[in-house]
């Protein structure tokens, strides 16, 4: 299920529309992740405040979405482009890769809620494939 030319064009076109709101999208996606899938809070036990509106969540959501934005620019070689991020996730963060799917779902929900007209089924499938490819690239170094 790799990205074809049409997928990449759709991702880039849609991303150019939403990039301006990336920080807010990231914050909301992460907030939804910890509310809808409370088990994900285990990765943030070192934060005093893990509530969805906390400054930590907002800041971290921005960081994560920054990674997604970067991935869009590296869409032609995600494995190579995200190599150091993969090493970070594999050796330092050790986030169970199952959680990438959960965050992907939350990102798609936020995109649908904030851009209902632009988030057509065709854009949806392209973004889903893209985020799945990003997840695969991030899991590359795990074992």
């Amino acid at each position: 299920m790799s990205l074809n030319k049409t997928d990449k064009e759709r991702v880039k076109a849609f991303w150019s529309k939403v990039a301006g709101k990336a920080d807010a999208i990231g914050a909301e996606s992460l907030a939804r992740l910890i509310v809808v899938y409370p088990q994900t809070k285990t990765y943030f036990a070192h934060w005093k405040d893990v509530s969805p509106n906390s400054p930590n969540v907002k800041k971290h959501g921005k960081t994560v979405m920054g990674g997604v934005a970067d991935a869009v620019t590296k869409i032609d070689d995600l494995k190579g482009g995200l190599l150091s991020l993969s090493e970070l996730h594999a050796f330092t963060l050790r986030v169970d890769p199952a959680n990438f799917k959960l965050l992907t779902h939350c990102i798609l929900v936020v995109l649908a809620a904030q851009f209902p007209a632009d988030f057509t089924p065709e854009v949806h499938v392209a973004m889903d494939k893209f985020l799945a490819a990003v997840a695969r690239a991030l899991a590359e170094k795990y074992r």
Binding site: V109, A113, P116, F119, P121, E122, H124
Partner: protein, 147 residues
């Protein structure tokens, strides 16, 4: 036994009370067939599913989407016993329709996204959590009678 708070019951009832079945049903089913194309395997007799446009304008699919969405009504009315309520439907989906139960989850995800698009910021994280809990119980019940 699934436990529902008063707030969760209220959220689910409110979503379904204001639901436009004729709009949301077709949108959810069509999105499922477009985003997860392998689900088209169950719709061989429905006519042209050749591309996204064909899927979205197929009248058979639209009618079926409405039917499937109304299928959730019984769960809304029997939230404390969804498993028993759907026992027969589960047998039907297994023995007659031969649907891989993983597909129920895919359709549930598409429905969540269509509702999110409709409700916008009103689809808060808490409401999303409740809605997904409800759909997870439905999906589990529909898969229960497979053997």
């Amino acid at each position: 036994m699934v436990v529902w708070s008063e707030q969760e019951r209220s959220i689910i009832n409110s979503i379904f009370a204001s639901l436009d079945y004729d709009d949301i049903g077709p949108k959810a089913l069509c999105r499922c067939l477009i985003v997860y194309p392998w689900t088209q395997r169950y719709f061989g007799g429905f006519g042209n599913l050749y591309n996204a446009e064909a899927i979205q304008t197929n009248p058979n699919l639209a009618a079926h989407g409405i039917k499937v969405l109304h299928g959730l009504d019984r769960a809304v009315k029997n939230m404390d016993n969804i498993k028993a309520t759907y026992a027969e439907l589960s047998v039907m989906h297994s023995e007659k329709l031969h649907i891989d139960p993983d597909n129920f989850r895919l359709l549930a995800d598409c429905l969540t996204i269509v509702i999110a698009a409709k409700m916008g910021s009103a689809f808060t994280p808490e409401i999303q959590a409740t809605f997904q809990k409800f759909l997870a119980v439905v999906v589990s019940a529909l898969g229960k009678q497979y053997h």
